[in-house]
Symmetry: C2
Subunit: 235 residues, 2 copies
């Protein structure tokens, strides 16, 4: 358990994978660090049916590396290297994968253990969260419980899905600044379910940004602005 | 009719007032131009019970002057120099003032005439609209009808008030890029009425930004960002 030997490059930064054992679960993770050493860290929560190193995750990671952030991601319940139901080839198995992977139950412990590991290995850092859709299903419980996370980019999620009740229950416990993204024509998570979850967030500083389009069609300017947002708040 | 003789300074820029006659109405206006000549113009729509030179309007005007914009504003129906019911001392007379001043009926003609005048006197310019609350009650009809306006900052308004039906009817005719501000705890224009009006805007590029707080408590960062938004889009 710990770092894997193989090291790769991402846009001039280092990419190292690790694996931890948390309770009875394997927790496979990846850590990217920029060319210039940084004290700022962002945790990336991937979307449903994808994984910690999906193409769009690499794209976001590169944007943070350019800002001088280090970036950490782990595979969510039943996803990526923890996929045991063939999710990657059968995206309709999302709920099955999520639930059989432990759902929200193990999420806080998994991410906290991964953050402990990185903090011990690298340096203590002010930390932000970036995660949409399932990245918010993971991020909201983590941000609500782990006070090391100082700001969060959440969204594309609502009072919806297998752990809807838990999300709604935990939302008031989120107190750090949050930017919350909504796709106005979301065909996966209904708009009103998203607005409802934003409403319930406990943060005094919370901002909702909504744009026309389907679930996965966030405008690029909003993605760029979301990285800038964490850049301003993780200090 | 035309420019008034008296000229003042605003943050180093020039402030000149004018008065036009449109149909049977007096249209009193103000025009601020920056130190350095600019080809970009923004129209400022003031809020209910205020007027074209209210303190917060001067504040917004200064922000645009600093970006090199020229700025124009006129008094809305029954407001400012067109106040005939004592609105400035009796803010509860808002609807009475609005309706007796002609309501939405004369708004497009008034603003178009003022824009004609400025274009003729100064220069043809790419033009944006900035107006919240009653500034949107005026701005939405103007933007829907006057194709010279290329981008708009709207908000704090919804399917609400004396001309609610007209706003809803005109919203689909707005097709330029729009940023729309919502105050999540708006005690004047209910949140859902605002979300409904945003929904009906015809623009493909529209973004909603919502923040906690009452009607008049827009966070300063959002005001600054609204000026930056027009700065990027009026080109």
């Amino acid at each position: 358990m710990g770092w894997k030997a193989k090291e790769e490059k991402l846009d001039g930064g280092r990419e190292r994978c690790f694996e931890l054992s948390v309770e009875n679960r394997r927790v496979p993770g990846v850590y990217w660090s920029p060319k210039k050493t940084s004290e700022r860290l962002v945790l990336l929560g991937h979307g449903g049916t994808t994984h910690k190193k999906a193409d769009y995750m690499l794209g976001i990671a590169k944007m943070f590396l350019k800002k001088g952030f280090s970036v950490m991601a782990i595979d969510g319940p039943g996803h990526g290297d923890r996929d045991e139901v063939g999710l990657s080839e059968n995206p309709e198995k999302f709920e099955e994968a999520w639930i059989s992977g432990g759902g929200t139950d193990g999420i806080v412990a998994d991410w906290s253990a991964a953050l402990d590991f990185i903090e011990e290995e690298e340096a203590v850092r002010p930390t932000g969260w970036w995660g949409l859709s399932m990245g918010t299903m993971m991020g909201l419980p983590v941000v609500a419980n782990d006070t090391r996370i100082k700001v969060a980019l959440l969204g594309l999620m609502g009072n919806w899905g297998p752990d809807a009740d838990l999300l709604v229950k935990l939302a008031p416990k989120v107190t750090c600044p949050v930017r919350f993204l909504v796709q106005w024509d979301d065909e996966v998570v209904p708009r009103n379910a998203c607005l409802d979850l934003f409403d319930k967030l406990g943060s005094k500083k919370k901002t909702l940004h909504a744009n026309p389009g389907l679930h996965s069609s966030i405008p690029q300017f909003e993605v760029v602005a979301s990285v800038d947002y964490l850049d301003r708040f993780v200090a």
